[in-house]
């Protein structure tokens, strides 16, 4: 397996192309492409790939980019694209369409702050704003996790029991534009791991049909319920996929969540994306000083892995959730989900820390401040704004 020094965007482009190429015996692949900082290099890379059977279609907007993916997926092609921030916002109508059509499209969301004000730096608000669109959502903390999760995303999305699109979210610039050492897959491994893409309800001249026509409330309610049931099947499919992944690639990525340093810990931090890495470093430093703090990092956000999280936080007395996102009028999104998950566990103090909005550099100092505050706190209050002063 080639080991390379490569940016997150470079790695994402590489793996998307391999996944597309893996469907060359099937209906090929397609990407509706539109650039936006900090995703542009993914699209530029894909535009330069000569697929055996596939096309990258440059369009005039993100809305059309997703439209192309929907059309191609309805034709049976393995479809993928990437976007960020206001590009995702522009795409929204079709993001919902892809989900409600149950098309196994994979999109890389390079997390960037939604504007205004104009801001290019990392913030999870853009992909979280689409959490109701019936897409699987993964949040990755590193380049290696990005590579592995993209492959898993195709696998789970295309599973006949799931058939939902999947979003893989990485921090803008911090992962997308930073060169790190990554093990990249070989084409043969990707060919082995990803079976031919089958979209059972694809348009087929042998069985002419219309998709997306009018449906009564009764049918609509039923279809929405089917989607929830598909979501509920996803974690088991992911587990099975991880077994296969390990067999082919020789390593086992984290599943729906990672739980670390949990033994004898009563204090837990919940964090995602690269913040999880910073938290891990701080936890390890503090452990060396005798403190026991556990780290729980959700990798799968939709469906939200409530059972695993409930189990992981069973022994927690106090929990800090770090949210690099915020739903105005309420609080951080991960906090809201964890709060629902822990309903009935009133003994646990759950405190939300909104940190790094707009892309601030969440340093170990900031994490230490949060942990110190958590220790001092007797009861949880409304979400705390931990402003990054850098």
């Amino acid at each position: 397996m080639p080991r390379e020094l490569i940016t997150g965007n470079g790695a994402a482009g590489h793996v998307l192309a391999q996944a597309g190429e893996a469907n060359r015996e099937g209906r090929g692949c397609c990407c509706g492409a539109y650039p936006i900082t900090p995703q542009t290099e993914i699209i530029e890379y894909l535009r330069g790939v000569e697929f055996t059977k596939g096309r990258v279609v440059p369009v005039e907007s993100e809305h059309s980019a997703m439209a192309v993916c929907i059309g191609a997926s309805l034709g049976g092609a393995r479809s993928f694209t990437a976007s960020s921030a206001n590009g995702l916002a522009y795409m929204t109508e079709n993001v919902f369409a892809a989900g409600y059509f149950r098309l196994p499209i994979v999109m890389i969301a390079v997390n960037r702050t939604l504007g205004p004000p104009w801001n290019i730096w990392a913030d999870q608000g853009d992909s979280l704003a689409l959490r109701d669109a019936a897409w699987l959502q993964f949040y990755v903390e590193s380049h290696q996790e990005l590579v592995d999760t993209i492959l898993l995303a195709f696998r789970v999305a295309e599973d006949s029991g799931v058939l939902l699109p999947a979003m893989v979210c990485m921090d803008g610039f911090i992962v997308s534009h930073t060169q790190m050492v990554v093990d990249l897959p070989e084409q043969a491994q990707v060919d082995a791991f990803l079976p031919k893409c089958v979209v059972p309800h694809r348009l087929n001249v042998e069985r002419p049909a219309t998709v997306g026509g009018l449906a009564w409330p009764r049918e609509t309610e039923h279809m929405r319920h089917e989607i929830q049931q598909a979501m509920q099947r996803a974690p088991a499919v992911l587990e099975a996929a991880l077994d296969e992944f390990e067999g082919i690639f020789g390593r086992r990525p984290h599943g729906a969540i990672s739980v670390e340093h949990a033994e004898d810990a009563e204090t837990f931090i919940v964090a995602t994306n690269t913040m999880a890495r910073t938290v891990r470093n701080v936890i390890e430093q503090r452990r060396a000083q005798g403190e026991a703090i556990g780290l729980v990092s959700p990798k799968l956000f939709r469906p939200f892995p409530r059972d695993e999280i409930r189990a992981a936080l069973a022994g927690a007395k106090r929990i800090a959730v770090l949210d690099r996102n915020h739903s105005p009028g309420s609080g951080g999104v991960f906090w809201q989900e964890i709060a629902t998950t822990l309903q009935g566990h009133s003994a646990t103090m759950l405190q939300d820390y909104v940190v790094g909005l707009g892309g601030g550099d969440v340093t170990p100092e900031v994490v230490n401040r949060i942990i110190d505050d958590l220790y001092r706190r007797e009861s949880a209050i409304e979400p705390i704004w931990e402003e990054v002063t850098a």
Partner: protein, 738 residues
């Protein structure tokens, strides 16, 4: 783990340097991380890039705050600011030609390394002195500081696909870098707390944007210039072609005519008969079709109102011999300057060859008469049937303040065909008689010998006079024929036959008409003019006979210099030397044999200015021209293709039997009519049309179009991006390197 901070400016390749350093260590089996700080970076904005190297996996993703080592790419960034967070035990590598000791006050106690990466990069042609690319060079110095081998440095460079000069530059820097630990006490410099308060969305008191003189970051600067349009450069009369065409495009026909009348009194004539070298030179030719300047000149002459002529105001009287285009032009310019001018013409009416040598169907008499009349109203007298010989000229030089001699080419080249008698006539004489109405060709077979305008005019006139068959015999091919291309085409459409590569040898009278024996020619080696010489073919089929009734010779003309004193010498300005009395200037074809109306007009005007300067000392010659706007100055992709508008021609069938004007000219002056559309096709090469593209496209909004029409660049904020220059369609805005 080692952490490095690189200080540079946007566009200098700092992030790539970080990647190079990371790559060098990755290839040795280390873990590495490289990234830049992405902000509102622009070319020139100060920014940082970071590198981390470790033998274990790197799990830190924050910006580097306490680097072990520093690299400063841009010497203008060397200052106390870079020291923030730098660990005192590390080194600082500076791109500078100064010695380490000169940084003792800035970086006391620290290990400072220096290398003139800019000098080395420029020497190896990596970028320019204004924008050098120093990253690969600096990798050499960094490698040495980090104990990499030369091979490890080179491998990083080639892995990132930089080759050639980059490797040599890196090697040079590897050898050249020197480091010294400076005297003094090294201290860790803490970061200052962030300045300024944080403002909210509704905060009314946010102040203005920071005053950063971004112009200081520029490595290039835009300027405006004026270039000479190639049409104006090519015009032998010196007409301001882009000027008058622009006026036509704006519907200001009076202004268009006024501009033309500065340099020529004969726009109606030239608008019909000029071979238009301006159109050959037009930059639009390659793009689609040249602007139809000739047709537009005629249009302006027709639609514009002529300014009221000035009356004589000076005492001096000037004599002009010959009322052809050179004489007319000189008379007009002198008349405009206030002189009293007397023109002496041997023929019975003024105009010279304009009247006798160009038939009505090309140049109607009324047009010529009207333009001569306008010249006359400037205080110019015409004295016809007054032939001037040598003694007459000497007399004039005693009674006038100056004399301009433009008697044309009176010698007609002949061809010895043996016995010909009345059947052989010179083209010039033929056309003169056509003009008089004293000749007919009814039912005749007419042969014209020659390839110039006189030959074509004679042939087409013969047709109109009832000839049953008209052939032009030319000893070269059509491509070499000097006649105006369109005239030849129109003649062929009318039924003239052109026999190429034919030379008549002898004529023998027959019962009716004559037998003209001709020989076929082929093109041999080029002659002094560069044209391939015609060479008679040999062999049985080389000769053939043409039966004809009239043979017209149009073989060219030469000067009859008998008017000049014995052994006369002429200065560069055309002035006769060695005379006492008034200055005598020669001009037109007599002096230069340039052969076109436009050349004669230009020559006559310059002669007038010369006379004026001689008599008064006032120099009214136009200043030196700017460089010519050759095609590469024009951004043709900014124009739309549009075929030329052509004025209609009377159909050949209709026009071949009459002397009515063949070309009808543009009729309408409406904004949407062909004339205006055609004028709008002009690129205005090298001359600003105030289209304001530069202003609209400037991303920084630093271009101001002032009320006085001039443009102003605000160099305080111009970053030298060059968009204005790339968006100027006509080569007016250009960039210089700082």
């Amino acid at each position: 783990m080692i952490e490095i901070t690189i200080h540079g400016r946007g566009g200098q390749g700092g992030v790539t340097l970080a990647k190079l350093i990371a790559t060098a260590h990755f290839l040795k089996g280390q873990y590495a991380q490289a990234f830049g700080v992405y902000a509102a970076e622009r070319s020139g904005a100060p920014l940082q890039a970071f590198v981390r190297i470790d033998s274990n996996e790197i799990t830190i993703h924050n910006q580097v705050k306490t680097p072990d080592h520093l690299i400063v790419l841009d010497r203008t960034l060397i200052g106390p600011g870079v020291l923030v967070g730098h660990k005192p035990e590390g080194w600082i590598l500076l791109n500078t030609s100064d010695a380490p000791a000169s940084f003792a006050t800035l970086f006391p106690g620290r290990r400072v390394a220096v290398v003139d990466a800019t000098g080395i990069a420029v020497e190896h042609k990596l970028g320019t002195r204004a924008v050098p690319i120093v990253n690969t060079t600096l990798l050499g110095a960094v490698g040495r500081m980090m104990d990499l081998s030369r091979e490890e440095v080179e491998k990083a460079i080639t892995t990132l696909k930089f080759g050639g000069a980059n490797l040599n530059a890196a090697r040079a820097a590897f050898d050249a870098v020197q480091s010294v630990t400076l005297p003094g006490q090294a201290e860790l410099k803490a970061a200052a707390p962030p300045a300024g308060r944080i403002t909210g969305l509704l905060d009314p008191d946010v102040g203005g944007p920071p005053k950063i003189r971004t112009g200081n970051w520029a490595t290039r600067q835009p300027h405006r210039r004026r270039l000479q349009a190639p049409c104006a450069h090519a015009c032998p009369a010196g007409n301001d072609i882009p000027g008058f065409v622009a006026a036509v495009s704006e519907g200001d026909h009076d202004e268009a005519l006024r501009i033309l009348l500065e340099t020529t009194p004969l726009p109606g004539v030239c608008g019909r008969v000029c071979p238009a070298p301006c159109m050959d030179a037009c930059n639009r030719s390659e793009f689609d079709e040249p602007v139809q300047v000739r047709e537009l000149e005629r249009f302006a002459a027709e639609k514009g109102a002529r300014p009221t002529p000035t009356l004589p105001s000076r005492e001096e009287r000037i004599a002009i011999v010959g009322s052809g285009p050179a004489g007319l032009s000189c008379a007009y310019q002198l008349g405009r300057l206030g002189y009293r001018v007397s023109v002496f013409e041997a023929g019975d009416a003024p105009g010279g060859l304009l009247r006798t040598g160009i038939p009505d169907y090309r140049l109607p008499r009324e047009i010529l008469d009207a333009e001569i009349d306008y010249i006359q109203r400037h205080g110019v007298d015409f004295h016809c049937e007054r032939f001037v010989d040598r003694s007459g000229l000497l007399e004039m030089s005693r009674t006038f303040s100056a004399v301009f001699v433009a008697a044309g080419l009176q010698e007609l080249r002949g061809l010895d065909l043996g016995a010909g008698g009345d059947a052989v006539i010179q083209g010039i004489d033929f056309l003169d008689r056509v003009q008089e109405g004293s000749i007919t060709c009814e039912g005749q077979r007419v042969v014209v010998v020659g390839g110039g305008n006189t030959a074509v005019d004679s042939a087409r006139s013969a047709l109109r006079l009832g000839a049953s068959d008209v052939r032009i015999l030319y000893r070269r091919t059509r491509a070499e024929a000097p006649a105006i291309r369109e005239e030849i085409e129109e003649g062929l459409d009318e039924g003239v036959c052109l026999m190429e590569l034919v030379l008549p040898k002898r004529v023998q009278p027959q019962e009716t008409g004559c037998a003209l024996t001709c020989v076929r020619m082929m093109l041999g080696e080029p002659d002094a003019t560069g044209r391939r010489s015609p060479v008679p073919m040999t062999g049985a089929d080389a000769e053939f006979v043409v039966d004809c009734d009239l043979i017209v010779l149009a073989l060219g003309q030469s000067a009859d210099l008998s008017i000049l004193p014995e052994g006369a010498e002429v200065s560069n300005d055309g002035e006769l030397l060695g005379l006492t009395g008034a200055p005598v200037v020669l001009g037109g074809d007599l002096a230069t044999n340039e052969g076109t109306v436009a050349h004669a007009i230009g020559n006559g005007r310059r002669a007038a200015l010369h006379v004026h300067r001689t008599l008064t000392g006032e120099d009214l010659f136009p200043p030196e021209s700017e460089p010519v706007a050759s095609p590469e100055f024009i951004h043709t992709h900014l124009f739309h293709h549009a075929p030329a508008q052509h004025a209609p021609l009377v159909p050949p069938g209709e026009r071949r039997r009459s002397f009515v004007e063949v070309r009808e000219g543009f009729a309408s002056a409406e904004p949407s009519a062909p004339a205006t559309l055609e004028a709008k096709r002009c690129f205005s090469c090298g001359m600003c049309t105030e289209c304001d593209r530069c202003v609209e496209y400037c991303p920084e909004g630093i271009l101001l179009h002032r009320h006085d029409g001039d443009y102003e660049f605000n160099y305080d904020y111009c970053k030298g991006c060059g968009v204005c220059a790339s968006q100027c369609p006509r080569g007016v805005v250009y960039m210089t390197e700082l």
